[in-house]
């Protein structure tokens, strides 16, 4: 990658993007190790989506309430959360289902994040539902004339769900457009089924174009292209209050999940290695610095795993907690 292809992003930002991509990758690899060590029941995550996800997270208007961006994420969004400031230990507490898990209190899988302090709505296992629930947060933001927008991420296979169509239809109605950044991370897989086995359209983005939604198809393994695309689409949405779309081509470096082995695929593009090479070539980064950062992050992940091992598990009796948001007793045996 030539210097000119850095597209006027300054060195400090480029290094920050790289550092967060590295942090995210090492975190995900730690999660896989945790699973393989028997400290977790299941792993699913986002290695291969770092360039895209970190760029997105860098540009989020972060905060709580409709004046800030809402995030409706899929279960490969670790890079986005890392860019927003999530420490490794939060993700490790989630995968190890401890009572300290800040997202679900030990109730849900890895990468099923939930951070109300940053408007990160609960990640769900049913794919695609986030495309339509985002309509509601965007609707409230529009009414409040907020500069906040609602952001959706999701996989290419999930676009077969009706909720994806709902999102395009509802958000693009004339005079009722909604401030939505609709994105698809196209890794060309739906578990074990190939892209060709699921899609007839040339680009998923073409479906958005049919609704007059401005749409980009980008290389999501390139952080600079991703950053620029997110920046321009966000700017359009914040200015017009209308939806915009990005189809980012990404990779899936460790398969679908632990169910498919969670082993490294060497045939797919690694966005981290690609970006690292270009930064090294331009002398923006040295091998020594990379090693220092890598060692630091590895140590953080290892220490977090050791620490979380000794943290408390949820108590069985807490299974009745939070069924209702008020004092209502949910257990029919006792009401």
């Amino acid at each position: 990658m030539a210097k000119s292809s850095f597209k006027s992003l300054d060195k400090a930002l480029l290094l920050e993007l790289y550092k967060k991509m590295l942090y995210s990758r090492i975190l995900e690899e730690r999660l896989i190790k945790i699973y393989k060590a028997g400290d977790a029941f299941f792993w699913i995550g986002g290695p291969g989506e770092e360039a895209w996800g970190v760029s997105l997270g860098q540009l989020v208007l972060k905060g709580k309430g409709p004046q800030y961006d809402y995030l409706h994420l899929h279960y490969r969004a670790t890079p986005t959360l890392v860019a927003m400031g999530m420490p490794m230990i939060d993700s490790i507490r989630l995968i190890m289902n401890r009572v300290t898990d800040p997202c679900t209190g030990g109730r849900n899988f890895s990468n099923h994040y939930c951070f109300p302090k940053w408007n990160v709505t609960p990640v769900t296992s049913p794919i695609g539902v986030q495309y339509a629930t985002a309509l509601g947060t965007a609707h409230v933001q529009k009414r409040q004339q907020s500069s906040g927008i609602s952001i959706i991420t999701g996989g290419d296979a999930g676009t077969a769900e009706g909720d994806f169509a709902s999102c395009l239809i509802w958000s693009s109605r004339k005079g009722q457009e909604l401030p939505l950044l609709i994105t698809v991370q196209n890794n060309r897989w739906g578990i074990s089924t190939s892209f060709e086995g699921q899609h007839g359209e040339t680009h998923i983005a073409d479906r958005a174009r049919a609704f007059n939604i401005p749409a980009l198809v980008i290389d999501g393994t390139d952080p600079i292209e991703s950053y620029k695309a997110v920046e321009s689409q966000m700017s359009y949405i914040r200015k017009t209050g209308k939806p915009a779309f990005i189809e980012a081509h990404v990779t899936r470096l460790y398969g679908h999940s632990s169910a498919s082995g969670a082993n490294m695929s060497t045939s797919e593009v690694c966005p981290l290695q690609k970006f690292e090479q270009s930064l090294l070539q331009q002398d923006f980064l040295s091998s020594t610095t990379i090693k220092i950062w890598r060692d630091e992050f590895e140590a953080e992940g290892f220490a977090a795993q050791q620490s979380v091992r000794s943290e408390l598990s949820p108590q069985s009796a807490s299974v009745w907690d939070h069924v209702y948001a008020d004092a209502q007793n949910p257990d029919w045996r006792t009401f």
Partner: protein, 351 residues
């Protein structure tokens, strides 16, 4: 007296002005129609959606995630089935997020048969709804309860399914809603949209007041000492004349309107069954894994040694749909004759 559609309209109007309700939406909910049952006519925050049930429920979930309250309508419960996984998600979001994301939303969907609605305007949803943990589920049997239950639902911080019976939407009540004019013609003139051009029409809502029916609280419609009859929704009105008729035959039935499917008023049922020793549960949803079977199970488990007769459930037949012809519909759901016959059988059962 107001009919149920008018009562719902007045509740929504009251909630707009007093509970910061900002969104009432669904198919044909906004102007000019104001809902196929006219239950949202003249409601200023009512707006029309695409014909997309999943989109409607998703929109409600997203609004709830911001902390705002809304009422979303699925035009007939018959069309809610393609949203089941979303209803499940709405019910588990607060729990799955360890108490971090409440879902204060109301889904309103008319249920049941009785309008000659054929296969897709006659479904019940009572039993399906009871399998949605995290939701509260209510079903009114009269306009005043519809008003009070809907206001409670809107105030509730949880997802609440409000299911007015289709067949009762045009039925007038016997009790005034607080603030409702005495003269039903006056009410009609003030809040019913005119036929024809409605573009300039504005409703003139009466100064209605807050009236809440607590969720989870049933009601004794008619007291009795011989048999407990537990029902809800449109079967309350169907059972009333049967119960009154049985008094002439020397059988005093205690008629309970459950009003809430979940959480339900077990203490009311239990107190009544302890008094009568005999109980029949009646509703029109299909009979296999019917919600009343749960109530019957609990009755057997907890009150077995107080029972003088086998507790029974009378529900809709296990059929794939309600047929259009009256001969088909009437045999698919419990008839008055059947209810009376079973009540008499329970009354005459010798322990």
């Amino acid at each position: 007296m107001a009919n149920m559609a008018q009562a719902i309209r007045m509740a929504l109007h009251f909630a707009e002005n007093n509970y910061q309700l900002k969104d009432v939406f669904g198919q044909d909910v906004g102007a000019p129609l104001g809902g196929v049952f006219t239950a949202t006519q003249g409601v200023k925050s009512a707006w029309n959606t695409p014909l997309d049930e999943r989109g409607i429920i998703s929109m409600a979930m997203g609004i709830a995630m911001t902390g705002e309250r809304c009422v979303a309508e699925i035009q007939f419960a018959d069309y809610i089935f393609n949203t089941l996984d979303l209803l499940k998600l709405a019910g588990n979001t607060h729990w799955a997020s360890n108490g971090q994301y409440p879902m204060p939303l109301v889904v309103m969907t008319p249920v049941g048969a009785g309008i000659r609605g054929s296969l897709y305007h006659s479904h019940s949803f009572d039993s399906w709804a009871s399998r949605l943990p995290g939701w509260k589920v209510v079903i009114p049997s009269n306009p005043r309860d519809a008003y009070g239950l809907l206001l409670s639902a809107i105030l509730d911080p949880n997802p609440v399914l409000f299911m007015p019976p289709k067949a009762l939407m045009r039925v007038r009540g016997e009790e005034l809603i607080p603030g409702e004019p005495l003269d039903e013609k006056e009410l009609r003139t003030r809040i019913d949209a005119p036929i024809g051009d409605r573009s300039q029409w504005q409703p003139d809502f009466p100064a209605i007041q807050e009236y809440l029916v607590p969720i989870g609280q049933g009601h004794i419609v008619l007291p009795g000492k011989d048999i407990t009859l537990v029902t809800w929704g449109r079967y309350v009105d169907i059972c009333k004349p049967i119960v009154q008729n049985l008094i002439q035959q020397g059988v005093q039935v205690e008629l309970i309107d459950l009003r809430s499917i979940y959480p339900y008023d077990w203490n009311l049922i239990k107190t009544s069954v302890l008094k009568t020793g005999r109980v029949l549960f009646v509703n029109e949803d299909t009979e296999v894994t019917n919600f009343a079977e749960h109530l019957c199970y609990r009755t057997v488990q907890e009150l077995f040694y107080h029972l003088l007769a086998r507790p029974q459930v009378l529900a809709g037949k296990q059929l794939p749909g309600i047929g259009l012809h009256p001969n088909l519909e009437d045999v698919s759901v419990p008839s008055s004759a059947e209810i009376e016959q079973v009540l008499l059988a329970i009354a005459n059962e010798v322990p």
